[in-house]
């Protein structure tokens, strides 16, 4: 028997439930029906195939309880629920959905095992979850969109599949403007109803790029904001408390690749801020605070 499942949370949970019933079944996964049929045709299998998750289901809550028992109490504000755990892991570039199913089934209905890292596999997948969380959180921290022509757009790059969650986050933060997150040839658009699209939709990157204004005006506005930011960033430094180790950890090297502004900030973390600037000749350089 073959359990063929869609690589999303519902598909994974359904497959876990089926694997418990048929522990000897083979697992095949695909992101959509087309990919699945291609895989099955290619394998030439004549076994019975159970297709799971390719039609929408209701009641993920019941399913998660059936497969992983009662949700473990959140241990910190940032802890993920089992559903979020599965969703995040599936976005990891190295995650193998079939392996994830085996891990979940091996938990024997105790979701805690996903988090406590008692086996090698559990540790690896817990780290995957953390990698993906870190990847999109870093985007939230260090990506710097352009705001031109009333639309907020940003190009991102990540080994993991996080463009849509970042887009949702950005759209929630800016509910009054359309936002677009461009990743390769695709773009996720949030608050799309403001430009005649669905609230949240995936479209071609070229379409979003066509909505942007000419490059020259974009650069002028961006340069002004970046200049102001430099002044502000420099003003916040307390020289007597310089802590290069901590700063480098918090503003890591990887942040520099996310935007020009983050790159400039990272440079100052490494090299410090020159305290001899033209500004010193126009104002009182003393540090003050209220």
């Amino acid at each position: 028997m073959i359990i063929a499942f869609k690589t999303d949370v519902d598909g994974v949970l359904l497959a876990c439930s089926a694997l418990k019933e048929h522990p000897d079944a083979e697992l095949v996964f695909a992101k959509d029906r087309r990919e699945l049929e291609r895989k099955l045709t290619f394998s030439g299998t004549e076994d019975e195939v159970v297709r799971l998750g390719f039609t929408p289901i209701a009641g993920t809550k019941n399913l998660i309880r059936e497969v992983l028992g009662k949700c473990p109490a959140k241990m910190s504000r940032t802890d993920t629920s089992p559903v979020q755990y599965i969703d995040l892991v599936l976005r990891h570039s190295k995650a193998n959905p079939a392996e994830l199913i085996h891990l979940i089934v091996s938990c024997n209905g105790s979701a805690e095992h996903l988090y406590t890292g008692k086996s090698k596999l559990a540790r690896r997948y817990y780290n995957y979850m953390r990698d993906v969380t870190r990847a999109w959180q870093r985007m939230c921290m260090f990506a710097r969109p352009d705001f031109v022509n009333g639309i907020q757009t940003v190009d991102i790059d990540s080994p993991h599949d996080v463009a849509d969650i970042f887009c949702r986050w950005l759209a929630k933060k800016n509910p009054d403007v359309p936002v677009a997150v461009i990743f390769g040839n695709a773009a996720w658009v949030g608050n799309g109803e403001l430009v005649g699209l669905d609230h949240f939709t995936k479209t071609a990157a070229a379409f979003v790029k066509s909505l942007r204004t000419s490059l020259s005006s974009k650069n002028k506005e961006a340069d002004e904001v970046e200049g102001l930011w430099d002044v502000f960033y420099n003003s916040q430094m307390i020289e007597s408390r310089r802590n290069r180790r901590l700063a480098s950890k918090m503003q890591p090297k990887s942040s520099a690749g996310m935007s020009k502004m983050a790159k400039a900030d990272r440079y100052k973390v490494e090299r410090g801020i020159s305290n001899c600037t033209l500004e010193m000749f126009v104002g009182d350089a003393r540090e003050v605070s209220v």
Binding site: M75, S76, F147, R241, V290
Partner: protein, 374 residues
């Protein structure tokens, strides 16, 4: 005290510099970190550094010869929006020198907050209020800000009158702290969970401007947590400023500020009471430059080594290297069989090792580890 002409950039620099010691809210996303490792989360600025007040430690005090500058509400709003759209900040932190009186200043601060909200700004607004701000304005500020509070600066009215002669500690500070506590409660009830974030009551102390010992500061913080639902205090080390009455004072060492922060976190997150610190103060009531949690542990050798698989949560929290999150994880994952497991849960093993026991095995007898009895 008239203002010379300065460009927008110059004014922005002068007024942002005036807030550099103010710590911002830690619960949202940080967007940059300064070379000192501190998170930059909000655009922090003063409305103006001209001030009618005469606080003895303050570089902005009235009649002091210094460069004065202001930003208009529109300018602050514009800068906030441009940083916000760039995803470089989560919102605005707004403080000010006193423009005439507290009422007038609060009106101007309110103008900024209202303008931002009227333009659809959903980001974070933290307003640092002036001592003596009238209640009706606090009520309005509460409608538009996520966080607001007034600085206590010190621990008693006697100390306060020494450094802030224009204001009254009981009326202008403590009464306002009570009002802000009640307004926060009301706002929380109103917006509920999932609505706008309503930050906890907030205040700041200038450490070392007067001679109050750490014992007094810690017990005031504890009292404020109790009475005014203060979640975390902010501390700013005193640095003597030329041309002020305290210009010949001695700068407070930066480590003192850090130790006070650590002590305040122990009260906030670890359930430690102000009186628990008594065993680690010196004769004059000051903390040493050492981690207070480690010092508390050494002061109670009879509590250790603690069996990691049996200790209650509040006992685990006494172990250096174990925080509230790792304590929860330990309890959930019991039985624990190795240090590696603890490390994966976030326990700092190098700190915790002398104080814990796992399945009967411990590093050494704590008494001998500490040299007790040798």
């Amino acid at each position: 005290m008239t203002e010379q002409h300065h460009t927008l950039t110059e004014r922005m620099r002068i007024l942002a510099q005036g807030t550099k010691y103010d710590s911002c809210n830690q619960s949202a996303v940080c967007h940059a970190f300064g070379p000192d490792g501190r998170c930059i989360q909000l655009y922090k600025t003063l409305l103006t550094n001209s001030c009618a007040g005469e606080c003895a430690y303050c570089p902005n005090r009235n009649k002091r010869d210094t460069v004065r500058a202001s930003l208009t509400p529109e300018e602050i709003v514009k800068i906030t929006w441009s940083f916000y759209r760039k995803n470089a900040i989560e919102g605005l932190f707004l403080s000010s020198g006193i423009i005439g009186d507290a009422e007038n200043t609060a009106e101007k601060q309110l103008e900024v907050a209202k303008l931002l909200r009227s333009q659809g700004f959903t980001g974070y607004i933290h307003t640092r209020m002036m001592p003596g701000t009238p209640k009706y304005l606090l009520e309005e500020i509460a409608e538009h800000s996520n966080k607001f509070g007034v600085n206590a600066e010190t621990t008693s009215s006697v100390n306060y009158s020494e450094i802030c002669p224009n204001f009254d500690y009981n009326n202008d500070i403590l009464t306002r702290l009570k009002w802000t506590r009640d307004l926060i409660k009301k706002q929380r009830r109103k917006v509920g969970y999932g609505g706008r974030i309503v930050g906890a009551n907030d205040t700041q102390f200038v450490v070392g401007a007067v001679n109050e010992p750490d014992r007094e500061i810690i017990s005031t913080v504890h009292k404020f947590m109790d009475r005014y639902a203060l979640r975390r205090p902010y501390f700013m080390s005193f640095d003597p400023v030329p041309d002020t009455p305290l210009q010949n004072g001695i700068a407070s060492p930066k480590w003192r500020e850090n130790r006070l922060y650590q002590a305040s976190f122990l009260m906030k997150d670890y359930g430690i009471k102000a009186s628990d610190f008594d065993v680690i103060f010196n004769d004059d009531g000051f903390l040493a430059d050492a981690d207070p949690k480690m010092r508390l542990a050494y002061a109670h050798p009879d509590y250790f080594p603690m069996d990691i698989n049996k200790a209650a949560r509040d006992e685990l929290l006494m172990v250096p290297g174990i925080g509230p999150i790792s304590a929860n994880r330990i309890i959930q994952a019991r039985p624990i069989t190795s240090e590696q497991e603890l490390a994966r849960m976030g326990v700092v093993i190098s700190r915790a090792r002398p104080f814990i026991e796992i399945n009967g095995s411990k590093q050494t007898n704590l008494h001998s580890f500490m040299g007790v009895g040798s």
